[in-house]
């Protein structure tokens, strides 16, 4: 057999705090679709970033078509025909589609019309419906991803690496992406698909490589394996099943009620449309939907960082119109935000200081005019113990903690600080399985305590495992609220894409 297109030998990559890749050996053939499977933190993105020249390996070699290759930058990778589409797109928002595609690929005076023509042709060839003159930041995420793909195609890429591409797509957009992958591979090109979703892997991959803790833990051809085997390779052991969640008490009082809530963003665009829902004490309402359909705005309207333009938001009997964030915290609303580093944690402050983030106003931590540092530290120590946060002590800076431990810190703080309602927005994004399990157990614990729980997540498995009722959001409106038992994967997929037809 001819030498594989790409071969990576013995690649090791260290970061300041962790070994990301340990002696990884990987090969990719021409016309092959390779799925790189593993949970968060397994090292999949890292190894591909080494191939793409974003990272420099600490040891090991890369061979392209049998020849040693020096890849020191993405430019080197591109000249060898290797392109990568990352989770966070490298697009310039305020620029047009053409400007983005042409960046770095054109010299001297730009002939706008010629470039536009070329882009239009390329898009047409693969069936992408994109206006070259559109401003990128105004495009839906699925289209932005297509712009990234066009950029790679414009430069004649022979290998496209995609990092978790379906995280931001509707089920229908994912289908269309899979179609592109198959067509592209059939034309003799290669694709590496980084993901943690078993279903996609079985759909589109020729060969599957499983990674765990920075090492390769198995390689299988698609025909020779199934989801269960892959899952156990990925995880390494059986997870204890979650304790069965008791059904919510029927007659419990309603803790949160939204009625016909509308909201607009800064530019006047409607982001929430006649939204109504209610959550009882001791009940978990899961909100499913592709990200970007108003879920964040829903959380904001409840926690107070966004005002509804019409409709009412009630906590128990209390109307929250005009009630600010600080007061809502005092009323007992907790919020675990989606972007923990930006919204949940002050990275430069210590664990102890982060614990009092929402409670600095009251008398609780005061001794005279000053802060009672000893009591704050003691309370932080208890949280570290109760939530198994891996940290040297309450003085440790938040930025020194791993993502999972930072999330535990936020969860601990919000759980302690909320009395009536707690909102979880993408609580397990980017976490390893151990931390995910912990968060799930905590969420169920909150329900047992009698709090109302609003759970927003793009991971359908999470929604199904934890929720009592499930709401599906699409373009700022609720497509329906159903008891868990009444929904199937297929139906939820249709609802997420905007089809509100009846029938299973």
């Amino acid at each position: 057999m001819a030498a594989p297109f790409i071969e990576m030998r013995d690649i090791t990559k260290l970061f300041a705090k962790v070994v990301a890749n340990r002696r990884v050996n990987l090969s990719i053939g021409r016309g092959e679709v390779v799925a790189l499977l593993g949970e968060n933190g397994a090292g999949k993105s890292t190894i591909m970033k080494v191939l793409y020249g974003l990272y420099h390996a600490d040891s090991g070699t890369i061979l392209v078509e049998g020849e040693r290759a020096r890849i020191e930058s993405p430019k080197d990778a591109m000249s060898l025909g290797i392109a990568m589409i990352q989770q966070h797109f490298s697009l310039v928002g305020p620029h047009t589609v053409v400007e983005n595609i042409v960046l770095g690929n054109v010299r001297g005076i730009i002939d706008a019309r010629a470039c536009e023509g070329k882009v239009r042709d390329l898009a047409g060839r693969y069936g992408f419906d994109i206006d070259p003159r559109a401003i990128v930041r105004e495009l839906p995420v699925g289209s932005q991803q297509k712009v990234e793909i066009l950029k790679a195609l414009y430069q004649d890429a022979r290998l496209i690496i995609m990092d978790e591409p379906t995280a931001v797509l509707t089920p229908q957009e994912s289908e269309s992406l899979m179609g592109f992958v198959r067509a592209y591979a059939e034309a003799g090109n290669s694709v590496v698909f980084i993901t943690h979703k078993l279903k996609e892997v079985m759909e589109v991959a020729d060969r599957i490589v499983v990674m765990r803790s920075g090492e390769i833990h198995g390689e299988r051809k698609r025909e020779e394996t199934d989801e269960r085997e892959l899952s156990s390779l990925m995880i390494g052991h059986e997870l204890p099943p979650l304790p069965p969640s008791s059904p919510a008490a029927e007659g419990a009082p309603v803790a949160l009620r939204l009625e016909l809530v509308n909201a607009r963003d800064r530019r006047g665009v409607v982001c929430l449309r006649d939204l109504s829902l209610s959550i009882r004490e001791g009940e978990i309402l899961g909100v499913a939907g592709v990200s970007g359909n108003g879920q964040d705005e829903l959380c904001e309207v409840v926690c107070g960082s966004r005002q509804a333009s019409s409709g009412s938001v009630r906590l128990g009997e209390r109307d929250l119109a005009g009630v600010g964030i600080r007061e809502r915290i005092e009323l007992g609303i907790g919020y675990v935000p989606a972007d923990r580093q930006r919204d949940g944690v002050v990275m430069e402050m210590s664990l102890a200081e982060n614990m009092i983030l929402k409670s600095s106003f009251g008398k609780v931590w005061r001794r005279g005019p000053f802060l009672d540092l000893r009591r704050i530290a003691a309370s932080a120590r208890k949280a570290i113990e109760d939530y198994s946060i891996k940290a040297p002590g309450p003085e440790a800076l938040a930025k020194g903690l791993s993502g999972g431990n930072q999330q535990k810190l936020v969860v601990a703080r919000e759980v302690e600080g909320s009395r009536r309602l707690i909102i979880f927005n993408q609580p397990t994004r980017g976490l390893d399985l151990g931390a995910i399990d912990y968060v799930h157990t905590t969420i169920l614990g909150e329900k047992r305590k009698g709090k109302a729980v609003l759970l927003v997540s793009t991971e359908l498995s999470e929604i199904f495992a934890l929720s009592d009722k499930i709401a599906v959001m699409y373009k700022g409106a609720i497509m329906g609220i159903f008891p868990k038992a009444e929904l199937s994967m297929e139906r939820i997929g249709l609802l997420m894409a905007g089809y509100s037809g009846v029938g299973a």
Partner: protein, 304 residues
């Protein structure tokens, strides 16, 4: 009135050099907070060069060169060492201020009569300066002002119609995209800082050898910062910078003419002197910046 407008254009010249240079640098993500120091060293070197060699050309060359040197120091620390732009700029401004007074004293001691050079002469363009109204305003200026006329269209063209301009604009919003496209973000930013050094140096020299004909330690008096402010107020666009510059040029020309014509009876002198600064404050509050380059002021640090 014609005199006033001609003067306005004259006073706009250094602000135009400075603000357009700032626009180019800031579009790539770099705030050149050392701009005040660059203006000052330009004024100083321009004067020293012109006085010592009895040639304005040598003065201008010295101004340009010294501006580039100061900008290089600033650029090295902020672009390559990734240190804080405001803090570094402040340090350099203090150092340059000290250096200029120090060297002034060392070179010339304390002269009884202030030293002067012959400032730039007006060069009326033969036919065009005869046009009624516009002629004396636009075409009877000095060489630097004529050079300034070219700056805006050139900068605009480069920024919006060339691949270099596309790269510059992209670097200020998402430097990673530029990096991935194979361009060197740091080298680009550093070069633009050097350009700002050159243009700022010339702008500074305008005050000493282009207009006043002498050098005093507070000759710049915050005008480097006004050029910096004009970049903000002009929405990071060379045309906007032109508009902002003209507004300030008019304000400054009005202040000067009122002071010399004894307008100090109606309006206190101090208010006239403070006018450009009050104007900056008012405009800074009024302008809701739409076009701030997304990553302005943030050093670009690669991960791996």
């Amino acid at each position: 009135m014609i005199n006033l407008l001609a003067n306005a254009l004259l006073m706009s010249t250094p602000l135009l050099f400075g603000s357009v240079a700032e626009v180019l640098a800031e579009r790539s993500g770099m705030m050149v907070t050392a701009i005040e120091g660059i203006f000052l060293i330009g004024a100083f070197s321009g004067f020293v060069g012109a006085y010592a060699c009895k040639s304005l050309l040598v003065g201008l060359a010295a101004a340009l060169g010294s501006g580039v040197v100061v900008a290089a120091l600033y650029g090295w620390i902020t672009v390559y060492l990734k240190q804080h732009q405001v803090v570094t700029g402040t340090a350099i401004n203090i150092l340059v201020a000290g250096l200029c007074s120090f060297l002034m004293r060392v070179f010339f001691g304390v002269p009884v009569i202030p030293l002067t050079v012959e400032p730039l002469k007006k060069l009326p363009i033969p036919l065009l300066s005869g046009i009624p109204l516009l002629g004396p305003i636009l075409f009877a200026q000095n060489a630097l002002t004529y050079a300034a006329y070219l700056i805006v269209p050139v900068a605009w063209f480069v920024l919006y119609r060339t691949s270099l301009g596309l790269t510059i604009r992209s670097a200020g919003d998402n430097p990673e995209a530029v990096d991935v496209a194979g361009e060197d973000v740091d080298a680009l930013r550093f070069s633009l800082v050097l350009v700002a050094g050159a243009m700022g140096g010339i702008a500074g020299a305008f005050y000493s050898i282009g207009y006043l004909g002498m050098f005093t330690t507070n000759i710049i008096g915050g005008r480097g910062w006004i050029a910096f402010a004009i970049c903000f107020l002009g929405n990071w666009n060379p045309l906007g910078a032109l508009a902002g510059t003209l507004v300030f040029g008019v304000a400054e020309a009005v202040a000067i003419s009122m002071q010399s014509s004894g307008g100090g009876q109606l309006v206190p002198n101090e208010l006239l002197i403070a006018l450009p600064y009050i104007l900056t404050i008012a405009l800074t509050m009024a302008r809701r910046s739409f076009n701030v380059p997304g990553k302005l002021g943030v050093p670009y640090a690669k991960e791996g």
